[in-house]
Amino acid sequence: MTTLTKTEDTPAPTGPEAFLSVRDLRVRFSTEDGIVNAVDGLSFDVERGKTLGIVGESGSGKSVTNLAVLGLHNPQSSKVEGDIILDGQNLTATSEKQMEKIRGNKAAMIFQDALTALSPYYTVGRQLSEPFRKHTGASRKEAKARAVEMLTKVGIPQANMRFDDYPHQFSGGMRQRVMIAMALMCDPELLIADEPTTALDVTVQAQILDLLKDLQQEFGSAIIFITHDLGVIANMADDLLVMYAGRAVERGSVREVLRAPEHPYTWGLLSSMPRLGGDINEALLPIPGSPPSLLNPPSGCAFHPRCAFTDKVSGSLCSGERPSLGDGRASACHLTPEQKQTIFIDHIKPRLG
């Protein structure tokens, strides 16, 4: 871990097993106020049968990244650069017509709020059948059989009778299951779950997470799981990517990142999480300040205005030079590995209990 030399990111290793590999992804939106760099040089890999968790505050670029993977940004107002290689095919260079064949078929997405993400105007059955018929050329009857099968699989009782119901006739948890069933209709090899359980209560959340795990075991899909709930991540993911201001600041296996986090931002995230066994009088420690404006990001390390440890770094490195993220297990911070370890053990770990 000697990362004080370059400002440009070196690509993460491209293993032959990487099913989805994102390299130096940049997503820019042109707004009236200027250009927003929503994602700025992001690289990651996801393997088949594995789950990559992505955490970060609102506006850190989690959802934007994943919408870019499916090519769902409006080309008129946004610009997507870099490589998104799904099973050997570069999606940034794929035509819209070809993308339509991939979406919902090879790569599917589960959205956060099923109430707004499902169309109120059509029956659940129709919304489920549509992509299946389009991608497989199945008949109406076959599509219905498949939809009922998937609805049953995600735990909707009497799926056959609910086929012709509208989304508003389902409860919140059931609607989210419908959303999941819809994403799984064509056995996607890549499943992107964008905060699939954020809007649900914890018991339903647990059921849905179990469901996703079961389905992953059954189909061997790669999953990208976006959330800001570290508890969910600990339960779901194999690898973890921590995002801040459109960039990855820490990467590693879930165990590594949660047990021995290296980046001050990750420390902040962990410290601001309430503990079940914690003392009731113990104050939570939120990260001071607010997420940076992506229109005009801070110089150097985007986290430095909120970072409590900039004085430990010599000179004005933090505000002057952007730390790069190394390969594999890595964190983008100017602190030396020894400093990271000492600070974590002395200051952070005691708080986490």
């Binding site: 919902g104 997405m109 959205f111 499902l118 169309s119 919304q127 389009k134 991608h135 819809m182």
Partner: protein, 325 residues
């Protein structure tokens, strides 16, 4: 659904009754002797007495109200003969039954409405959707700009210009007039083409703007994004998912515009010198022919109520969430 319809219909009948009662009693607060009005100048007291009896004005006001209401449902007898239901009374001026006068004028008003409706719906919704589809391009800017300019026009401004060009200067077309549809559908359409075009121009501009903005709003909905994320083709997403949602606000405005048009477009009729319901309403109130004024008012109210129910039904058809409520 049926229950909903029945409830709405009963409500509409009650409202019609209230409007009828209100106009009727408003009518009698006017400080005028109706028999005198009907008789005209140089009228002998005997004549007035006869007229008063013929019109039933000598009876108590409650009896008159009962007869008026009964007449609407069951018809009533006047000195000049039987006025069959729905009887809205008899004109002071001409002695014609009000319902007959309205029915004389209604075909023109209906023709103006239907003709312009077809044009402005097809072109208005179509161009609005095109602009939304091509949002931000030259096409969008051209369509938006044109509709902005046209929607600020008025019929009495555009109408005379079009008449001036196509009728008075070049003589390519005749002055608009009403030819009964059943007599000759082609002549009917040709004779009304100018008013249709002028009315439709102004309405088209409004519907273009509305359809563009509701489509753009819908295209940003999350469920539209979900449909794309499922791999549905862009065209399909546009026409099935986004368009469906954009209809509800349009149907609401359309219902209001239509009931206004059917109750009579005064400005249009005067601009093109056509005799429709609007003309009848203005003429009757100028000559204080109160039964006709009342009749036209009730007739207009009927369309407003009817179209309200139709809009509610259309809403339920468009949005299943409304159906169970």
């Amino acid at each position: 659904m049926l229950q909903f319809l029945v409830r709405r219909l009963i409500g509409a009948v009650v409202i019609m009754f209230l409007i009828g009662a209100f106009t009727f009693f408003l009518f009698y607060t006017v400080p005028q002797d109706f028999a005198q009005l009907s008789c005209g100048k140089n009228c002998s007291p005997e004549n007035i007495a006869v007229i008063r009896e013929n019109l039933g004005l000598d009876k108590p006001i409650t009896t008159q109200f009962w007869e008026f209401m009964r007449g609407i449902v069951a018809g009533r007898d006047f000195a000049v003969g039987h006025c069959s239901a729905p009887c809205l009374g008899q004109s002071f001026d001409t002695g014609d039954f009000v319902w007959d006068s309205i029915m004389d004028r209604f075909p023109l008003t209906l023709s103006l409405t239907v003709g312009s409706l077809v044009i402005f719906l097809v072109i208005g919704l179509g161009s609005g959707m095109l602009a939304a589809w091509k949002r931000g391009t030259v096409v969008d800017k051209a369509v938006s700009g044109a509709s902005m300019v046209l929607s600020s026009f008025q019929i009495y401004f555009l109408g005379p210009i079009v008449l001036g060009i196509f009728v008075y200067s070049t003589g390519w077309m005749d002055n608009p007039k009403y030819v009964p549809f059943l007599e000759s559908p082609i002549d009917w359409a040709v004779a009304l083409l100018i008013p249709w075009a002028v009315m439709a121009t102004i309405f088209t501009a409004q519907y273009t703007r509305m359809s563009r903005s509701t489509m753009i709003e819908q295209l940003q909905e999350e469920h539209v994004r979900t449909a794309r994320a499922k791999g549905m083709p862009q065209r399909y997403v546009f026409f099935r998912y986004a368009w469906r949602g954009s209809l509800a606000p349009i149907v609401t405005i359309l219902g209001m515009d239509l009931s206004g048009l059917l109750a009579g477009g005064v400005v249009t009729e005067f601009t093109f010198d056509l005799a429709g319901i609007g003309r009848l309403a203005v003429d009757s109130s100028m000559s204080k022919d109160l039964p006709v004024t009342m009749g036209v008012m009730l007739f207009g109210a009927f369309f407003i109520l009817l179209l309200n129910i139709v809009v509610d039904l259309a809403y339920a058809y468009i949005d299943p969430r409304v159906r169970l409520a």
